[in-house]
């Protein structure tokens, strides 16, 4: 009987608004292992999938930002728990996609979990550490507090396949933004597997959206999209960097580049709390005080 059984092969889907959707374009791409063996197919996102992702990320950001900092931390921590639970599957996905050795894949997944926990801790600490009470020369209580900027788009580098994705998503969403992530172009499967893990965490749909496909098709639409408030580019591709800088200069959206080398994502360089500041707005209030 087993000889007759056909494998049930999966087509990895995009993660938009908490749902797994096929590309609006109907396109798919094959994902191959480094040795050239076909692993599985995955959906190839079009500019309209980007549009749909931003359209669900906008209302998601509003609801997410209203949750208390403590609750956002708990939810991110829960995502770390779910990743821990599925660590073995994640390790296997990284190993078969990238050809990484088992120890290397283990190191990446472990660090990804730890990094989620690390950033989860910042949710209810960032405002205290980065906000300020400012001395002013009038009868005012003057204070500066961070507020989320809204919808963030982030481009992950090709390698590593998982760790940068989490190191980009966590600092962006922890203060109440939502994010549209463009996964590694070379190794998209681990990112799409991570989406399946996120779907079982308590993160509201639309807060983290993951697209896969070809970066070059999406860049001009990312830069020109008036409903994206900030772009974080970790692709490491010089052309992409220049195109995004030129595009965002026109509409004045925030742009941050993270040109890290592959090995740097495993260091403290990728746990920089100033990354959180890249996607918040600091607002200063003047509150009159008597006498």
């Amino acid at each position: 009987m087993s000889a007759l059984r056909l494998d049930v092969r999966k087509t990895y889907k995009l993660y938009i608004g908490g749902n797994f959707v096929r590309s609006e374009s109907g396109r798919t791409l094959p994902a191959s292992s480094p040795s050239g063996e076909l692993l599985d197919n995955f959906c190839h996102a079009s500019r309209k999938d980007l549009r749909d992702a931003v359209a669900t990320a906008r209302p998601a950001a509003e609801g997410w930002a209203k949750k208390s900092a403590y609750l956002r931390g708990q939810i991110l921590y829960r995502a770390a728990e779910m990743l821990e639970d599925r660590a073995a599957a994640m390790r296997e996905e990284i190993a078969r996609s990238t050809g990484a050795a088992a120890t290397q894949a283990r190191a990446e997944v472990d660090l990804a979990i730890d990094r989620l926990v690390y950033f989860a801790g910042w949710t209810d600490k960032f405002a205290q550490v980065f906000g300020a009470v400012n001395p002013v020369a009038s009868s005012h209580f003057n204070f500066t507090i961070p507020e989320p900027t809204g919808v963030v788009a982030a481009l992950a580098p090709d390698d590593p396949s998982l760790l940068p994705l989490i190191s980009l998503a966590a600092p962006a969403v922890l203060m109440g933004n939502s994010i549209v992530l463009i996964a590694s172009e070379k190794y998209p499967l681990p990112a799409l597997t991570f989406a399946e893990i996120l779907a079982t965490s308590d993160l509201p749909g639309g807060v983290i959206n993951i697209l896969a496909g070809k970066r070059s098709e999406l860049i001009s639409h990312l830069a020109g999209h008036m409903d994206i408030n900030a772009i974080v580019n970790a692709s490491g591709v010089e052309e992409t960097h220049r195109a995004l800088q030129a595009g965002t200069a026109v509409n004045l959206k925030r742009y941050a580049a993270r040109p890290l080398k592959a090995e740097d994502w495993f260091t403290e360089a990728a746990e920089n709390p100033y990354w959180i500041a890249d996607t918040v707005e600091f607002k200063t209030a003047w509150h009159p005080i008597g006498l």
Binding site: V54, H221, G224, H225, M226, D227, N251
Partner: protein, 310 residues
């Protein structure tokens, strides 16, 4: 009891007997097919501008003020900066008490018409005398068009003659003003009822038939609009009279508005693709259409924050 049934006026009785029934499955499938058309670039831009020109920009809220109505009129006159060459909306649609404020803002002659809901909007459960008074006052205050609601209670109770007479009486009270008859299809339960109510409304003198008040769910849907369009088509073949159509409520996206235009074109033809015979009643649709127009012209996706409030 038998005597009572027979006592229905002969004319109205014949309406019920001659109106065809509607095949639910076919009409829903056919309506869904209209959403599959691919409309891109210049055709899309032309379609979107047409949708704006056929829009009744609507505000029907208890919190409406003269200032808000003036804002509505301003937006209907010029929806967006002139460089995008977007036409004015067909009309503003307001409550009777707001008609004079709209008239004061728009002046005596205006490309934007003033439509007023009337006859005990949205329920229609009021005496005929006050309904007629309301209609005459709205017209006297300057309304070009009256959007009346039918008495759904009367219709569902089988009192077709009463419904017919009410519409005819309101039409007489309208004078020169155009009459749109709101069927409130969300409360009529079946497509057969929608078809029958459409026929009665057309025969009683309605210039337009309109799906909904926007206060009841479901409001305008594609299948229900198709049933009404087919009623208009058959009425045209029978009498040579062109009756207008106005879907209202629930049309919120530019894509939906294009699907409705396709449906009108493929059911009634190009003759009906004019604000004189087709309107879309909406409050939030306009900004989505404008965002799509700007997107098509400029090439980048837009953000609602950069558009005036709707």
């Amino acid at each position: 009891m038998m005597q009572q049934t027979l006592a229905l006026p002969r004319r109205v009785h014949s309406i019920r007997d001659t109106v065809p029934t509607v095949d639910q499955v076919t009409v829903e499938e056919r309506a869904a097919a209209f959403t599959k058309r691919s409309i891109k670039t210049s055709a899309k831009l032309a379609g979107l501008k047409m949708a704006v020109a056929m829009m009744d920009l609507t505000s029907l809220e208890g919190k409406d003020t003269p200032g808000r109505v003036a804002y509505l009129c301003r937006k209907a006159l010029q929806p967006i900066e002139p460089k995008y060459e977007v036409p004015s909306c067909a009309a503003v649609c307001v409550y009777p008490n707001m008609v004079r404020h709209a008239r004061r803002f728009l002046g005596e002659r205006s490309v934007v018409k003033i439509a007023s809901v009337a006859t005990g909007f949205p329920s229609g459960q009021y005496p005929l005398r006050t309904k007629l008074e309301e209609t005459r006052r709205a017209v006297g205050d300057g309304a070009d068009e009256i959007d009346m609601v039918i008495d759904r209670g009367a219709f569902l109770a089988g009192e077709y003659a009463r419904m017919f007479d009410e519409i005819a009486a309101v039409k007489a009270a309208c004078g020169a003003a155009h009459l749109k008859v709101i069927l409130e299809t969300g409360e009529l339960v079946t497509y057969d009822n929608v078809r029958l109510a459409s026929q009665i409304a057309m025969e009683a003198g309605g210039d337009f038939i309109k799906t909904s008040t926007g206060k009841v769910q479901p409001a305008a849907t594609m299948p229900v609009t198709l049933v009404m369009l087919e009623a208009i088509r058959d009425y045209f073949f029978a009498t040579g009279l062109r009756i207008g159509m106005k879907p209202a409520g629930g049309i919120r996206t530019a894509k939906q508005s294009l699907a409705y235009l396709v449906m009108v074109k493929e059911t009634l033809g190009d003759d009906w693709l004019t604000p004189d015979l087709f309107r879309i009643g909406a409050s939030t649709l306009l900004n989505d259409v404008l965002m799509q127009i700007v997107k098509t012209v400029e090439g980048n996706y837009q953000n609602a924050d950069y558009f005036s409030l709707s």
